[in-house]
Amino acid sequence: MPILGIIASSLPAAAGDFESIATVTVGSGGAANVEFTSIPGTYTHLQIRLISSNTGANNQSSTLIFNSDTGSNYSYHRLYGTGSGTGADAAANASGILVAVETNTSSTFGASIIDVLDYKNTDKYKTVRSLTGWENNSDGRLFFLSGNWRSTSAITSIKITPQTNNFAQYSHFALYGCKSA
């Protein structure tokens, strides 16, 4: 079952330039995806900080899309380390950006920090960067990523979906907004 992020409207507005917008914690039974909707346009940049685990398979990636756009409007590059070697991959005209990676090891979660720059700007395409990885004491993966969404639309929703299976219970997604002067 997909889970929608709950805007933190019940909390007092945070002081400062880095504010919590919404948080999702996956419950028992897992989640097919996590989505933040109705993202306010009151910030300059967004950051998503997450831990995620996959219900069925090791070494999986998760895909991000904006504004429910499932078209071939995304591209990305990844630089990675496997613990024994390095590599890079890329995709053009993709239907999403691979922003996070997961293991399925019990109680063990990948971690990702995703920055979405100038998300509400309507004059240019949108650029994403991510640092993501997982470790399970037997193996590990570490990725640098940059991605692009070929749209000038302001971003109002973000959906993250595992390529296979579901996000496991206790996967945790937190969306933040960063203001500028």
Partner: protein, 168 residues
């Protein structure tokens, strides 16, 4: 009003120290961010990180490193996270390390703990940059973080700042 991203504690060494520890860390945040700018008394000594005073073999780490070439390596069943790689810590105030360690969901008691590290180290004419993912195989909340070196001390002028990030 609540503050989302705030400093918890800062240590600026006024004299050499073998270890630097942040203890009694509040569980009121979601993530911790540790920013470190340090140098040591022994050039090339490795930076080691432990949590909760746990010296057992509960740590593992995968690294992606840029040195004179790019490579990746990892450590299993380690007794600490070693965040230096090809070159250890510098021994001069001209060569401070620049490290940022993200302790993700550090205060929950249902999952093992994962960290993300960005490590940068000048060492004379060489420079190392790395990204790392680490695992601490414990569901205990992290309440303390200790930095040590494989030899020598952290030098006076080294700084360690701990931040907390709250989620909605």
């Amino acid at each position: 009003m609540a503050i989302t991203y705030e400093p918890i504690s800062t240590t600026t060494l006024s004299s050499a120290a073998a270890t630097v520890t942040f203890s009694s860390i509040s569980g009121s945040y979601t993530d911790l961010v540790l920013v470190m700018s340090a140098f040591g008394s022994v050039s090339g000594a490795d930076i080691r990180v432990q949590v909760n005073s746990d010296t057992a073999s509960n740590y593992s780490l995968t690294r992606l490193v840029g040195y004179t070439t790019a490579f990746s390596n990892r450590a299993s069943n380690a007794t600490y996270w070693q965040i230096t790689n090809s070159v250890g810590i510098g021994s001069s105030s001209s060569d401070p390390t620049a490290d940022v360690i993200q302790f993700m969901n550090y205060s929950n008691t249902t999952t093992n703990k994962t960290i993300l590290v960005r490590h940068n180290q000048p060492q004379s004419s060489l420079m190392e940059t790395a990204a790392q993912v680490g695992l601490y195989r414990s569901t205990s909340a992290i309440t303390s973080i200790t930095f040590s070196l494989s030899s020598g001390n952290y030098s006076s002028g080294s700084t360690f700042t701990l931040y907390g990030i709250k989620a909605a």
